[in-house]
């Protein structure tokens, strides 16, 4: 049995055993492969006609017409299509075949052809092939069997293409998340011993963790005694974020620095109350000015006398 994880793994790096599993998962048997291979010469005859009809159909849509505006592009794509059909009916489904399918999927993804368009076009294509088979192959039953075998392969193709779409999307999302979390949170030294940290944006756990580490290291390197965390720029605080803030403050305290939080907006305040966060533990002050006043008070209390 094939697990979801195996299906999700990179097709390009598929081992022979994995490819075998994938083929058997799609119930593609030797009989199918033989059947398809047996019409290789016939399909060679009709592939041009099918491809012509396919592009006539696609080009009747404005978007596609734009995409294949130049004659040379269209010719190149048609040649690619013919080559694809040759591979499909060649009966060899090895690593190279899978890598090629993945590459085509990527091209579609980059060109902005969504899954709906892709599968719709594929269905049209298979229909045309089916009609040709019905005409050219001995009996309707044989043609139907042939088409069934082709369908298995076509669906495997579509699965590979969809996989590529998903992977591409995941890569984009990951990149964006990384970008977000790498949004630097500057640690500013206002004066000797006093650090200001303006937190802006969303604090997810990844970002909160890196903020905590950056802060703790700054405490050490800048010899800070008081931290002012200004969260005016934080739009939403959930229990996880509140917890991260508390943890950061506690860790800072262990290193000998006091923390003050300023700039809690009304919505954030409401959210914190709802979660049940104790305001005194956060050591909050309404605005930055009062936060600084408190910071001065703490610092002078330790310095004087």
């Amino acid at each position: 049995m094939l697990t979801a994880q195996q299906l999700n793994s990179d097709f390009e790096s598929k081992t022979e055993g994995e490819i075998k599993k994938l083929l058997s998962w799609s119930a593609i048997e030797d009989a199918d492969v033989e059947r398809i291979a047996s019409i290789a010469s016939v399909s060679e005859d009709f592939s041009d006609a099918v491809i012509q009809k396919f592009y006539d159909h696609i080009l009747s849509f404005e978007e596609a017409a734009d995409m294949f505006a130049s004659e040379s592009t269209l010719e190149r794509v048609k040649r690619g299509q013919k080559e694809y059909f040759r591979q499909l009916t060649a009966g060899v489904y090895d690593q190279k075949y899978f890598a090629e399918r993945k590459r085509i999927g990527q091209i579609h993804e980059t060109a902005g052809i969504g899954p709906a368009l892709y599968i719709g076009a594929y269905a049209f294509y298979l229909n045309q092939v089916g009609l040709e088979l019905l005409e050219r192959v001995g009996s309707p039953e044989e043609a139907f069997r042939l088409h069934l075998s082709l369908l298995k392969l076509a669906h495997l193709d579509m699965a590979l293409a969809l996989q590529t779409y998903v992977e591409a999307r995941e890569t984009t999302i990951e990149a964006q998340q990384r970008e977000m979390s790498e949004l630097p949170t500057p640690v500013l030294q206002v004066k000797a011993g006093l650090l200001l940290v303006p937190v802006v944006g969303t604090l997810d756990s990844h970002r909160a963790r890196s903020l905590t580490i950056a802060l703790l290291e700054s405490i050490q390197s800048m010899r800070a005694r008081v931290l002012v965390l200004d969260i005016t720029g934080v739009s939403a605080v959930d229990s996880m974020v509140a917890n991260h803030l508390l943890q950061t403050m506690t860790a800072a305290r262990l290193m000998g620095a006091h923390s003050i939080i300023t700039g809690i907006s009304p919505t954030v305040a409401e959210a914190l109350v709802k979660i049940g966060v104790d305001a005194t533990s956060l050591n909050t002050f309404g605005d930055l000015e009062r936060g600084f006043e408190e910071a001065e008070r703490i610092m002078s209390a330790h310095r004087e006398e």
Partner: protein, 122 residues
């Protein structure tokens, strides 16, 4: 393993832990420090843990006990030099030093003890 040396400087005992201590070594350090508080006019105890890359629950508890004990004898305890990643992992483990003060380094700790003494005297 040599015992952690305890230095005394104008009413402050300073113990700098140089390498990871076993549970019994920590206990012995605690007893020694508490004993020293009684026969000197000690107002503060500073424990430097900057060389340690981990503070476990036992060490934390012992430090808390030391701080409470020292307070009963009239001395304030300051733990200094907790490293950033040590602080973070302590927080994640839910360990706090609620009975002891903390400071960045020895300098800060001595300043803290001085100002505390000033408040008490003045």
């Amino acid at each position: 393993m040599p015992e952690t040396p305890i230095l005394a400087h104008s009413g402050v005992l300073i113990a700098s832990i140089q390498s990871a201590l076993s549970d019994s070594e920590i206990l012995s350090l605690r007893s020694q420090l508490l004993a020293r508080i009684s026969h000197k006019s000690v107002r503060g105890v500073v424990i430097d843990v900057s060389a340690l890359d981990v503070l476990d629950s036992f060490a934390t508890r012992t430090l808390n006990e030391l701080a409470s004990g020292a307070r009963l004898r009239g001395a304030q305890t300051v733990v200094v030099g907790i490293q950033p990643d040590v602080a973070l992992s302590m927080v994640l483990l839910g360990l706090t030093l609620r009975d002891a003060e903390t400071a960045l380094d020895l300098d800060a700790a001595l300043g803290l003890l001085e100002s505390a003494a000033g408040r008490r005297d003045g």
